[in-house]
């Protein structure tokens, strides 16, 4: 009961940190499970995940534009 409850009780606040961290480091199995289960039921965090990836692409494009102008 304990561990299942722990996994499902993760809030968006905690999961958003995992979404960011996943861009930086390999997550452990526990965090991966928490993330996967949460993303299955939470549209807001699915959107946030897309937004994080989009912001990274946008930075890349910005850099590309700046390089072209240099």
């Amino acid at each position: 009961m304990g561990i299942v409850k722990k996994i499902f009780k993760r809030s968006c606040r905690q999961v958003s940190r995992l979404i960011s961290d996943r861009e930086e480091r390999p997550l452990g199995w526990f965090d991966r499970t928490v993330l996967r289960l949460h993303l299955n039921v939470c549209d807001t965090c699915v959107r946030y995940e897309k937004q994080v990836k989009f912001m990274s692409r946008a930075m890349g494009r910005w850099k590309q534009y700046a390089d072209e102008e240099l």
């Binding site: 958003s16 961290d21 897309k50 937004q51 989009f54 946008a58 930075m59 850099k63 700046a66 102008e69």
Partner: protein, 169 residues
């Protein structure tokens, strides 16, 4: 120059980095391998000079992540959900084709607390790896992750407010 300014967020430091780059290039023209583009070569030098500047000035800014701990209380309600759950950006890719979007993006990055902006630019623009950033900023890996996490939360809020929520033609 704009590249240097965006990265350092300090005009004086940026000017120093750019002039050091030009000096370095003039001093050692032989290190320019003909095969690469002149611009690529100069940007390569500039990156090193920017890192030098950052290293020199790092101690002038607080690099502790503790100074922005209230952010998460603003973004999330007490039960841990996002306060604003309806931030649907639709098809954000179309923004990448609009010049104005990058003006907004730059303004949002510049509005970040200085240490968040700096690690975010080092990570996403200079594409330094975590080890290098931690070394330059004298951060632990965990502190770096916290800073990047907060930078992303803030950027999302800013882009939402300044771009994705405003009606555009």
């Amino acid at each position: 120059m704009r590249f240097a300014r965006a990265q350092l967020r300090n005009d004086a430091w940026a000017e120093d980095a750019v002039s050091e780059t030009i000096l370095a290039a003039l001093e050692r023209p032989q290190s320019f391998a003909g095969g690469s583009q002149l611009k690529t070569w100069l940007v390569g030098i500039l990156k090193h000079k920017l890192i030098d500047q950052l290293r020199r000035h790092t101690r002038e800014i607080a690099s502790s992540p503790a100074d922005d701990s209230g952010l998460e209380d603003l973004v999330f309600v007490p039960d841990g959900h996002f306060r604003d759950r309806e931030q649907d950006w639709g098809n954000p890719e179309s923004a990448l084709g609009e010049r104005q979007f990058f003006v907004v993006l730059q303004a949002c990055v510049e509005n970040l607390p200085p240490n968040q902006a700096r690690v975010f630019m080092m990570r996403e623009w200079l594409e330094l790896d975590a080890k290098e950033i931690c070394k330059e900023m004298e951060l632990t890996a965990t502190n770096l992750w916290v800073l990047l996490h907060r930078a992303r939360l803030r950027l999302r809020e800013c882009l939402q407010a300044k771009w994705f929520s405003s009606p555009r033609a």
